[in-house]
Symmetry: C2
Subunit: 574 residues, 2 copies
Amino acid sequence: MTHICGDAADFAAAALEGFCLAHADLVRPVRGGVVRSAPGRDGKVAVVVGGGSGHYPAFAGYVGEGFADAAVAGDVFASPSTQAIINVAREASRGGGVILGFGNYAGDVLNFGIAAERLRDEGIDARILAITDDVASAPEAERQRRRGIAGDLPVFKITSAAAEAGLSLDEVERIGRLANERTRTFGVAFGGCTIPGEPETLFSVPRGRMALGLGVHGEPGIDETPIPPADELAALMAERVLREAPEGAGTRVAVLLNGLGSTKYEELFVLWAQLGARFHQAGITLVAPLVGEYITSLEMAGCSLTVTWLDDELEPLWRAAVRAPVLARGAVAGEAPARIARPVAAAMEVTQAASAAGRRGGACVAAALDRLAGALAEAEAELGRIDAQAGDGDHGQGMARGSAAAAQEAARVSREGGGARSVLGAAADAWADRAGGTSGALWGEGLRAFSTALDDERPATIETLAEGAARAMQRIAELGGAKVGDKTLMDALAPFVDVLHAQLAHKKPGVEAWQAAATAAQEAAEATRALLPRLGRARTHGERSKGHPDAGALSLALATRVIGEALATESLPA
Amino acid sequence: MTHICGDAADFAAAALEGFCLAHADLVRPVRGGVVRSAPGRDGKVAVVVGGGSGHYPAFAGYVGEGFADAAVAGDVFASPSTQAIINVAREASRGGGVILGFGNYAGDVLNFGIAAERLRDEGIDARILAITDDVASAPEAERQRRRGIAGDLPVFKITSAAAEAGLSLDEVERIGRLANERTRTFGVAFGGCTIPGEPETLFSVPRGRMALGLGVHGEPGIDETPIPPADELAALMAERVLREAPEGAGTRVAVLLNGLGSTKYEELFVLWAQLGARFHQAGITLVAPLVGEYITSLEMAGCSLTVTWLDDELEPLWRAAVRAPVLARGAVAGEAPARIARPVAAAMEVTQAASAAGRRGGACVAAALDRLAGALAEAEAELGRIDAQAGDGDHGQGMARGSAAAAQEAARVSREGGGARSVLGAAADAWADRAGGTSGALWGEGLRAFSTALDDERPATIETLAEGAARAMQRIAELGGAKVGDKTLMDALAPFVDVLHAQLAHKKPGVEAWQAAATAAQEAAEATRALLPRLGRARTHGERSKGHPDAGALSLALATRVIGEALATESLPA
């Protein structure tokens, strides 16, 4: 949808005016488009690019030092008029002739072609450069029929750098054609886009499906399939492009992974991580790669992969310094290694336990955490469903992840001879680290505080466990600021601690005391859960950061029950 | 929707890996986030920013020279863990202390707060800087409760520039807090976003409505209204922010118009053009303004306006050189004037007609074009409806625009004494220029060719009109490559020309001959129109560039009829 729109008939012009305001340091408006605010040298070849609007940063965003001298802007998805092209080219002309660069669409071919004739008639030598990078738009044998899409960027960048370097019109034209010859793009679309002022999308792609080679104006693609996982999508796109490596193609390429408008940057990066591996396998080096939105199609969902095979002539031009709204690069552009090493987690320090009793205590903690991880893994889906009614449904996942990491770390530290305090302390940090978020931090800090009540030299007793639970509650209250009644884990933790201490005051046996406390926690958690239907989603979503209302109390109650079972079997010392 | 996604649980980590691959020249991955690939000077204060993932370029995109030293990345919309923050801060520390910058959300406050404590415990002086720019999230009296949104960018940029300049930790912290004190953001949302792996949006906004102050994770806003036109939206947003100008606020501000994910760049620029005027009225100067996507919320639709009131201390820091994935700026940042002059169309040259007869001829052409413009304005909606079945529905608008411009230009040239040839020639260029696109170019070139059969010294005769029509057809065929049967205007133009010449060969009177030809054109156009239901939309959309199948023929037939009526009344010379 288009949400911000004045007079729809004036949309493209209004957008261009706003663009000029935002980038007044780089461009100035002229009738029909924009030119550099600081013109290039006298006698320089002028590179004028353009096409329909709705593709920002194409084409006005390409104007600046080291890139285009000017851009012509047509109406949304419509070629600029011959008169607009002529006017912008006159404004941009520095006496060295003009290159008119555009995508290979009939309307643009027509208007830029007529403009070139007229410019030559008035003594400005003008050459046309129609980009034909879209491999899906025609067979390789008919490349001249292919459409121009994201290949516009590398071809115009390289052509412009040649002009900036002072080459002649003939040379700049030759390099532009060479760059286009060596550029291939393959795109996929997941969803359509809407013309400003229109109520419905111009075209659409069925949900969960992907249109291969669909044009940036909805021109029909070559196939439609279900959307594959990122690795398969990367393989598909890389294969479609790389299979067309031009004659004499080397191993160094300029690469552009382009988002079409509403595809998230994170999605592009997820795909890029997979593409990096593919290119590495193919023995290809990525020179100054670009991942982002460089030529869009209004708010279309989808992306395209562009490769320009470089040679000794093209590479320095691709890497040359540039300062335009879309791209600002220093004199030395970077190269991405085709892969990176995944960072490795540093293992925790272990306090060696001195005694066999201490080691036994550590083993007990590890065993209890192992049970807890198992129980939370089983409960993950259910906790997720409950949390989804109030929050974003990730509570179950966070608890499962955190407890699994804690159990693993506890086992490691216990194997290395850690006592109860060290094992639980290390497990606490592992929990917080893997679970992340608010509840991860609260559980981590809570368990760490709990561990300070334990001892590395001897197993836990019910008294030390009760003290640990009290310290955990105190730390969580101090950190989260949550009080009983806020529908957080505190609603279950507080009655647990109270009942546990009351039971011990009455000299109840340890396991029995703990289980009574666990029952109290469970009842309190169920009470908060009963409030759930009355919690409006938006409201509770706003409060998510307080730690998963209700689901947090339920998972805490579950934990106390499971640990109680562990105590019953692990034979707690008197 | 999230379309590119491997294991959803691993989405944030996979995105970060891809980001590091794409920007290996600027950043390198460490456990929990990224740090600059080229570390800052020894003893420099390190600025470490972070928060949940799903907000790219926040926060990893802020890492680079002149900006942050490192970024910590949590899971999607979840705070990073304490351990991740500590690890990244250790990696980033250069011995001058660390600033931990984050948005004011409970989970981040908790994790960054604990991390700061732990870092200080191990001898790294760490200060926290919680951003609170969202004016909609709490009343001004409770600013410390406000959330941090797009204000992150200017505050972190200014703070980082202070650190880059070698200021002490106390000074950098003071400047960071000052920048936050002077920063306000107001956002609106048009649509929700989806957590990777989830089938439905996390939250949504009713179609055509706008949520004021909705949080970037769907936190409830303060109101919901219909989406207003761009100028009213600009007024609303500017007022909400400017009403909170802090004490001692000057007239120079850093401004950021931020897109939340799927709002088109062109929409942002349309809004910016209106905002520029508002700021100008308020006597405010925009220093190095930014319009684009600087902190997103997955593919959320919406935007936010951020203002940071600068002073002599903050302005140079805002303008300071920076080289990060999100922002690359030279040593001298530009300033946008608060408004620009709209470019003015240059008037055409006029060939003065020598004779009264010639002027009468020019007036006849102008009168005919005036009728044509009137008829096409009436037919605009109908032609649009027809075109929408095959193309994108803009044919009626293009014809109405083009003919109106042609009639206006014809009247001007006629008033100045232009003859038939000059009047039609000038009108032709005006038509093509205002109509734009393919059909605009074809009509412009066709009418221009038509004009070459006319004479500035005497009115047109039926013979010169017939010759003109033939030349127009020839030029259009040569340009568009359209043949009879392609369902373009050629389907109507060819029979028109054939019948007109045949009628004249049989010595039929001029007006009668023309009207017979117009009837033939109309019949041919109706025939192509009858094919319409059989044309699949996608197919014809791909062919749009051939010039609006069917609707083009209908509008040409209409034109011949209207001009026939003109000839009948304007008393054509024998």
